[in-house]
C-alpha cells in the first residue's frame, strides 16, 4: 500500500498498463516531456520512451482521430484532452467514429481507446477550463463514460478502461486531483465499469453523486448526521452504463432520492436519475425526486463561480427539505 492522490493513482495505472502491454501508448498536448499540465503522466516518457509516451501536435481532432486509427490497427491508445472545454474540436471524431466504428463494421473493428478528460469547476480557471459535460457523452450510443471520485477507484477504473474493448471517456475530477490522499495498493487491480458503490448506508434518503461532488456530499452528511438524518450515499463511478440496479434498490429502501451533480441541470445525468426513480421505484417514493445541480448557465468566471458551485450547505438544505416533505 502507498499513499496516493488521484493524480498519482492515475499515473500508477498508466505505468502498470504501459509496463505490461506493449500496445498501450499515451499521448496528447504536453503529455510527454512535461508530463501533462497536471503532471498526471510525469516520468512516463522517461520510463517508456518517446514512441510510447509523447507530445502530439496541438489539435484535439487530430489526437482523437489518430487514436481511432491506432486502435483499429491493434494499439490501445490513451489520449489526454488537456481540459474538458478543449474537447469540442474532437467532437466529430468522437461522435462519428470513436462511438460508431464497432457498429459500422459489425464488430469487425474494435476501438479500444481511452480519452482522459480533466473536468469540472471550482479551480478559479480561465473560461473553457471548468465544464462538466458528462451527459453529452453519456447520451452518445457506443461510448462508455467513467468518473472516479477517489484515488483507489481512479486507478482501478483506468485499468479497466484501458483493458476494455469499448471506447471510454474517462473524466477526471481535477478539482480534487490532489485533495484526497488514500492508501492504495501498488499491485494491479481493477474496478469494474458499470458498477456504482454504496459509500454510506442510510435509511432516510438516497443521495446519488460522482466525481468531485462526492466530497461535498460527505461534508453535507456531517451536517445531516448532526440533524439526525440517515443518508445513503451512492457513488455512480460510471455514468454510462448506469448501474440502475444499485440506485433503484437504494431508492426503494429509503423512499427518497436526491441527485447531486455539478453539470447544468436540464437534460443531464440528474434527469436520468429522476426518470429512473419514476420508472423503477414510483410506488416507493415518499417525496418528489430532487436534483441539486449547477444552473443552466455558462460556468461563471472565477469571481462569480462561488454563486455557481454546489456547496455542502445547499446539499444539506435539499436533504432536509426532502426528508421533511
Amino acid at each position: 500500500m502507498k499513499a496516493m492522490n488521484i493524480v498519482s493513482a492515475i499515473n500508477d495505472a498508466l505505468d502498470i498498463k504501459l509496463s505490461e502491454d506493449k500496445n498501450v501508448v499515451v499521448y496528447g498536448e504536453d503529455v510527454g516531456f512535461e508530463g501533462g499540465v497536471f503532471r498526471v503522466t510525469e516520468g512516463l516518457q522517461k520510463k517508456y520512451g518517446v514512441e510510447r509516451v509523447f507530445d502530439s501536435p496541438l489539435a484535439e481532432s487530430g489526437i482523437v482521430g489518430t487514436a481511432v486509427g491506432m486502435a483499429v490497427a491493434g494499439l490501445r491508445p490513451v489520449v489526454e484532452m488537456q481540459f474538458c472545454g478543449f474537447i469540442y474540436p474532437a467532437f466529430n471524431q468522437i461522435i462519428s467514429h470513436v462511438s460508431r466504428m464497432h457498429n459500422r463494421s459489425r464488430g469487425r473493428h474494435k476501438v479500444p481507446m481511452v480519452i482522459r478528460l480533466p473536468y469540472g469547476g471550482g479551480i478559479n480557471a480561465l473560461e473553457h477550463h471548468s465544464e462538466s459535460m458528462e451527459s453529452i457523452f453519456a447520451h452518445i450510443p457506443g461510448l462508455k463514460v467513467v468518473v472516479p471520485s477517489t484515488p483507489h477507484d481512479a486507478k482501478g477504473l483506468l485499468i479497466s478502461a484501458i483493458e476494455s474493448d469499448d471506447p471510454i471517456l474517462f473524466l477526471e475530477p481535477k478539482r480534487i486531483y490532489r485533495a484526497i490522499k488514500q492508501e492504495v495498493s501498488e499491485e494491479k487491480f481493477s474496478v469494474p465499469i458499470g458498477k456504482a458503490k454504496v459509500l454510506a448506508q442510510g435509511t432516510d434518503v438516497t443521495v446519488v453523486a460522482y466525481g468531485a461532488m462526492i466530497r461535498e456530499v460527505q461534508k453535507a452528511m456531517v451536517m445531516a448526521k448532526e440533524a439526525g438524518y440517515s443518508v445513503e450515499l451512492i457513488d455512480l463511478r460510471t455514468i454510462y452504463p448506469l448501474d440502475k440496479e444499485t440506485v433503484t434498490a437504494s431508492i426503494k429502501k429509503t423512499g427518497r432520492i436526491i441527485f447531486v451533480g455539478e453539470e447544468p441541470r436540464s437534460f443531464g445525468v440528474g434527469s436520468e436519475i429522476m426518470a429512473l426513480a419514476n420508472e423503477e421505484a414510483f410506488l416507493h417514493l415518499e417525496a418528489p425526486p430532487k436534483r441539486v445541480t449547477a444552473f443552466d448557465v455558462i460556468v461563471p468566471y472565477p469571481r462569480g463561480e462561488h454563486h455557481y458551485m454546489i456547496t455542502p450547505e445547499k446539499i444539506f438544505y435539499e436533504i432536509e427539505r426532502t426528508i421533511k416533505f
Binding site: 501536435p57 481511432v68 486509427g69 491506432m70 483499429v72 466529430n92 471524431q93 467514429h97 463494421s105 479500444p112
Partner: protein
C-alpha cells in the same frame, strides 16, 4: 519523381495522352501485357458495376449511391498497387480499391441496400469501412500508419479524400500529424472538380492541391487521375518511398466526376455540357482502350463479350443478395458495444415483449 513534378511548378505526371499514345515513356510503369489488360478489365468491371448500381437505384432497389463514373483509374490503380497488408482507408468513391482489398460485390450491394452488414468486409484484410464525414478518415490513416511504424510492421496506409475535403480541418491535421510523426501514409485527393455543386476554385486559392504538402513538410505530386499508367507509376513510387523512408505523401489525382455526386444530385444544374464533352476526351477507359487497341491487346468484340458477362454476373449476385439479406432485430442492438450493457439488453427485451403483444393482438 517528386523533384521533377514539384507541385510549385504546377506540373502533372502523365504517361499517355487523350489518344492513348505514350507521351512520357520514362514514367511508364513496368507492366506485362496481361497486367495491362487486367487493369483495363478491372476498370471496365468497376464502370459496369457502377452503372448497374445507379440503375438499381433508379428502380428503387438500392438507396442513395455515389457514382464512380469517370474516376475509375484512381481506385483501380490504388488497388493494383496496394500490398495485401497495406491499409485502405476510403472516403466513399473508391470502388476499384474496395474490390481489390476483397470487399465482395454482395457486400457493396448490401451496403447500398441499407445494411451495415455490407461493411463487415468479411474477406478484406486491412480495410476500413467507407467514411461519410468528409476528411475525418484521413486522421485514421495517419493513426494506422503510426501503429504500423510503432509495431515495425512495414505497412503503408492509403487514405482517400475528395477536393472538397481539403478544406476540412481534419485534412490539415492529418497531413500535419503524419508529417511530424514521419509515418508511412499516402493521402490521395481525388480532385474531381466538384464538391457536390461547388467547383474546386471555390475550395482553395492554392495553385493546386498537391502543393498543400509543402506546408506540412511532406512530399506531394499532381497526377493525371484519368491516366491509369500515371496513377500506377505515382502510387508505386509513393508507396516505396513511404515504406522505405517512413514518410507521408500527398497525391493529387486530377479527374472528373462524370456522374452525379450521389443519385440524389443533378449535375446539369451546375455545369455545362461543353465542359462534360471536354472531359469525355480524357475519360480513363477511353484512353486506355485506345492504348490497348494500338498494341493489339483489346478489341471491341472482346469488350462486348466481357461486358455482357459482367452484367450477367453482377445481376445474378444482386438478385441473390436481394433474396437472402435480412436485418434481424438483434442486429440493431448487438454491435453498439463490444461488451453490451445490461440496459441495452433490457431495451431489446422490452421491445420484444411489445412485438409479442402485437403478434398476439392480430
Amino acid at each position: 519523381m517528386f523533384d521533377q513534378f514539384d507541385p510549385a511548378d504546377n506540373k502533372m505526371l502523365q504517361v499517355i495522352d487523350n489518344d492513348g499514345k505514350v507521351i512520357a515513356k520514362e514514367w511508364m510503369p513496368q507492366l506485362t501485357d496481361e497486367e495491362m489488360v487486367k487493369l483495363y478489365k478491372d476498370m471496365l468491371f468497376v464502370r459496369t458495376l457502377d452503372f448497374m448500381i445507379v440503375s438499381y437505384q433508379r428502380q428503387g432497389r438500392v438507396y442513395t449511391y455515389p457514382p464512380n463514373y469517370g474516376q475509375e483509374a484512381i481506385s483501380v490503380a490504388a488497388g493494383a498497387v496496394m500490398r495485401h497488408d497495406d491499409w485502405l482507408v476510403p472516403a466513399f468513391r473508391e470502388l476499384g480499391a474496395y474490390l481489390a482489398k476483397g470487399m465482395s460485390v454482395k457486400e457493396i450491394f448490401m451496403f447500398n441496400m441499407g445494411f451495415e452488414e455490407g461493411l463487415r468486409l468479411k474477406e478484406t484484410h486491412h480495410m476500413l469501412p467507407m467514411s461519410v464525414p468528409i476528411a475525418s478518415q484521413l486522421l485514421h490513416a495517419a493513426g494506422i500508419a503510426y501503429a504500423a511504424k510503432y509495431l515495425k510492421k512495414d505497412e503503408v496506409a492509403f487514405g482517400f479524400v475528395g477536393d472538397g475535403g481539403t478544406s476540412e480541418g481534419d485534412f490539415h491535421e492529418a497531413l500535419n500529424f503524419a508529417g511530424v510523426w514521419k509515418v508511412p501514409v499516402i493521402f490521395v485527393v481525388q480532385n474531381n472538380q466538384y464538391a457536390i455543386s461547388v467547383p474546386v476554385k471555390m475550395q482553395t486559392a492554392s495553385l493546386n492541391m498537391a502543393i498543400k504538402s509543402k506546408a506540412y513538410g511532406i512530399k506531394g505530386i499532381k497526377v493525371d487521375g484519368n491516366d491509369i499508367f500515371a496513377m500506377v507509376a505515382a502510387f508505386r513510387f509513393a508507396q516505396e518511398y513511404a515504406r522505405k523512408e517512413s514518410q507521408a505523401v500527398l497525391i493529387e489525382a486530377v479527374t472528373y466526376r462524370k456522374g452525379a455526386h450521389t443519385t440524389s444530385d443533378d449535375p446539369t444544374k451546375y455545369r455545362t455540357t461543353d465542359e462534360e464533352k471536354e472531359w469525355d476526351l480524357k475519360d480513363p477507359l477511353r484512353r486506355m482502350k485506345l492504348f490497348l487497341e494500338q498494341k493489339n491487346l483489346w478489341t471491341n468484340a472482346e469488350e462486348e463479350r466481357i461486358s455482357e458477362e459482367y452484367k450477367k454476373e453482377i445481376d445474378r449476385q444482386f438478385v441473390e443478395t436481394e433474396e437472402t439479406v435480412q436485418y434481424p432485430l438483434e442486429d440493431v442492438f448487438k454491435y453498439t458495444y463490444a461488451e453490451m450493457p445490461q440496459d441495452l439488453r433490457d431495451q431489446q427485451i422490452e421491445h420484444e415483449k411489445f412485438l409479442q403483444w402485437k403478434t398476439a393482438r392480430k
